[in-house]
């Protein structure tokens, strides 16, 4: 992968980002291991820049063409923005909320100090400064391959949160990390979340992303999540950014022994978005369910790329991603399951289904299996099609008008993925969000 960097012409955005990275290293200096990580990330970005369509993992999402500007890093938070963010960010009943406004932790509007026993959350900066054990694991789950958004996220490191769930703690209230962008001018934010769930603990983690329509801001966020042995973690991610935003998300995951991990990602926002999920089974007997629903209109582009590493035996994974495309929108799903030689008895099923409502929409599906063990059960499938005419006719023959019939069927289509969300309130919320999307379209 790390070929000798051949000199090449950098775009204005790449040059701008490289300069901003250099400035950031000066403005927010860090020592020791994390300092090294940041300098290495900066060097990697300088060498490789933004990926384009000739880079295999970015074939359908030409980031170099999409990311044309390098807006400044969002500045310090003022009281007005904080108040606005507090008002506009998603609010979940019965959840503890940590609020980031324009990429900056809004401490006074966050439930940092009122968390349940066994759950701690602290600003990334203080955790790094105090050599907190969780912060020590930052970077540990980074993929082997060069990942430009993650390199930028690491190079710009500063804002973020570390979360620790103590061994055996059963956390009842979901922990909700809400991100909201309130600015009038384009700006970029780089947030890092490191979450360690110790052995036997249970927690539901929610991340939401919202922002102002019409502003070309950029959100670059990275999550490192360690799921301990016999732990049970649910992760729900709601990407509802403003309609001109660029959203780049990296989710890195390591699952211990006999653990349960379920994730659900709702994607309806941003002009362009890419989620890269790197997951690894590090202990036997575990189950992971990765699911999502993406609903796009106009010229929106959303890419979900998974790399799931079955490194050990006796693990089970289920992936189900639903994409609904209207107008000229474009959906991308790339899913790769790797089954290592030792990962016998692996059971993996991956499915991507797309519903094409628009005449000019496009879905790109690329499922892959790389299997090096001989006693496994793995399968993948991908479909893309229009609404079933026979289903529509059945509904219309009962007096349900075309638009309403379409909405019912779309709702049912995404519902098949949403129904896996265990938390009742979150599941209802996701269903309501999908309904709202349909209403807005009709």
């Amino acid at each position: 992968m790390m070929n000798i960097a051949t000199p090449q012409i950098r775009t204005a955005a790449e040059q701008g980002l490289a300069a901003a990275v250099d400035q950031r290293l000066v403005d927010v200096p860090m020592e020791g291991r994390v300092g090294e990580l940041r300098r290495a990330a900066a060097a990697a970005f300088a060498a490789h820049g933004l990926p384009h369509r000739r880079v295999e993992e970015w074939k359908y999402t030409d980031l170099r063409a999409i990311l044309r500007d390098a807006p400044p890093v969002a500045g310090p938070l003022d009281a007005a923005s904080e108040a606005e963010g507090n008002f506009k960010a998603l609010s979940l009943p019965d959840a503890k909320r940590i609020l980031f406004v324009n990429g900056v932790l809004a401490r006074s509007a966050s439930d940092l100090l009122t968390l349940e026993a066994g759950l701690t959350a602290m600003p990334l900066g203080s955790a790094l400064a105090s050599n907190h054990a969780v912060a020590e694991r930052l970077g540990a789950l980074a993929p082997q391959r060069y990942d430009a958004p993650l390199a930028l996220n690491t190079a710009f490191l500063g804002e973020g949160l570390v979360v620790h769930v103590a061994a055996g703690a059963k956390i009842a209230a979901p922990l909700h990390v809400a991100h909201v962008f309130t600015g009038d001018e384009p700006a970029a934010s780089y947030g890092r979340l490191v979450v360690v769930v110790e052995d036997g603990a249970e927690v539901t983690l929610v991340e939401s992303f919202q922002g102002r329509d019409g502003v070309a801001y950029q959100t670059n966020t990275a999550l490192e999540l360690f799921v301990g042995d016999t732990a049970h973690v649910d992760y729900v991610r709601m990407q509802e950014e403003g309609d001109a935003a660029l959203h780049l998300g990296t989710v890195m995951l390591e699952i211990g022994r006999d653990a349960q991990f379920h994730s659900f990602g709702l994607t309806t926002g941003a002009h362009a978005s890419r989620i890269s999920l790197y997951g690894k089974f590090a202990g036997t007997g575990s189950h992971a369910g990765l699911r999502g629903a993406t609903l796009l209109t106009k010229r929106q582009h959303a890419d979900i790329t998974l790399l799931l590493d079955h490194a050990v035996a006796h693990c089970e994974s289920r992936e189900l991603f639903k994409t609904v495309l209207a107008d000229e929108s474009r959906g991308v799903f790339q899913g790769k399951i790797v089954v290592r030689p030792d990962a016998q008895k692996t059971d993996g099923r991956m499915m991507s289904r797309a519903l094409l409502l628009g005449e000019a929409c496009e879905m790109d599906n690329k499922p892959e299996l790389e299997i090096f063990a001989d006693d496994v059960q793995c399968g993948h499938g991908a479909t893309a099609g229009e609404l079933d005419e026979d289903l529509l006719f059945y509904l219309k023959a009962r007096g349900i008008p075309q638009k309403e019939a379409e909405a019912l069927l779309v709702q049912a289509f995404v519902g098949e993925a949403i129904e896996f969300v265990e938390n009742d309130a979150l599941r209802d919320l996701l269903i309501a969000r999908a309904e709202a999307w349909l209403k807005k379209r009709a």
């Binding site: 005419e389 026979d390 289903l391 006719f393 059945y394 509904l395 219309k396 023959a397 009962r398 007096g399 349900i400 008008p401 075309q402 309403e404 019939a405 019912l408 069927l409 709702q411 049912a412 289509f413 519902g415 098949e416």
Partner: protein, 251 residues
């Protein structure tokens, strides 16, 4: 007064003419059976009347209570009072039966300018009517027809008919795939909906169903037309002699 009045109806699919000048008049309060050999166009008639997109009407008229329905969209025909009980009710995973029923009833009420039913009122009516048909609350929570047996699917069709209270109901091969017990339940459901204000057309290949839903008039359909009309004894005659006299290649 005729609730359904079809004159000289011609319809084709993919350029192939299936209905070739069909005439049929069903007055209010009557149940008419349409029998005929496979391929005579019985199901096509039901689809053409209910507005399935693949069919093209090339000639003729169809009036529902005096209204020309052939120019209407399928949902408008339903709101005007037409109901088709499907031969093969389709499964709709992810749409709960109860949601589907409420959406349908309220869409029709809205189209007719009536107020939507309140949720408690609707639940009460569904519970009552579903109970008569042996449809459980658990089935109502499931996706439409998902995991239903053949008999349960047909009972679900009759429940929809009971809730939508159409002026004209067309039952397409409602007996297909039913054992004798299921046939009885479904027939009782249909008979309970016989009314002086409603017309029914029962399409069937076999006389068996007509032992349970006794028709006022029996029509024989052959090559896209009604070729014979008689009383309920005509069905018995057909049962004895078969459709030999109406062979598919007799044209």
């Amino acid at each position: 007064m005729a609730l359904l009045e079809i004159k000289n109806l011609h319809a084709s699919i993919d350029g192939k003419e299936i209905l070739k000048g069909l005439d049929l008049t069903v007055p209010a309060g009557e149940v008419h059976a349409i029998m005929g050999p496979n391929g005579s166009g019985k199901s096509t008639l039901s689809y053409v009347l209910s507005g399935k997109p693949d069919y093209e009407v090339t000639e003729g008229t169809a009036l529902l209570d005096g209204q020309d329905i052939l120019q209407m969209a399928a949902e408008e025909r339903a709101a005007a009072g037409l109901f088709l009980a499907f031969q093969y009710p389709i499964e709709i995973p992810g749409v709960a039966t109860m949601t589907f029923l409420r959406t349908a009833v309220n869409a029709q009420r809205k189209a007719r300018g009536e107020a939507e039913l309140s949720t408690p009122e609707f639940l009460r009516v569904v519970k009552l009517k579903a109970g008569h048909l042996g449809i459980t609350q658990e089935m109502l929570r499931r996706g439409v027809n998902v995991g239903f047996s053949g008999g349960e699917k047909k009972r679900n069709e009759i429940l929809q008919m009971a809730l939508l209270e159409p002026k004209v109901a067309i039952l397409d091969e409602t007996d297909s795939g039913l054992d004798i017990d299921a046939l009885k339940v479904v027939s009782e459901g249909v008979n309970a909906l016989r009314s002086k204000d409603r017309a029914m057309v029962v399409i069937t290949h076999y006389q068996r169903l007509l032992d349970h839903i006794v028709p006022d008039v029996v029509h024989v359909m052959h090559q896209g037309r009604i070729v014979r009309t008689g009383g309920k004894e005509l069905a018995l005659e057909l049962e004895a002699s078969g459709y030999a006299g109406y062979g598919q290649d007799a044209a």
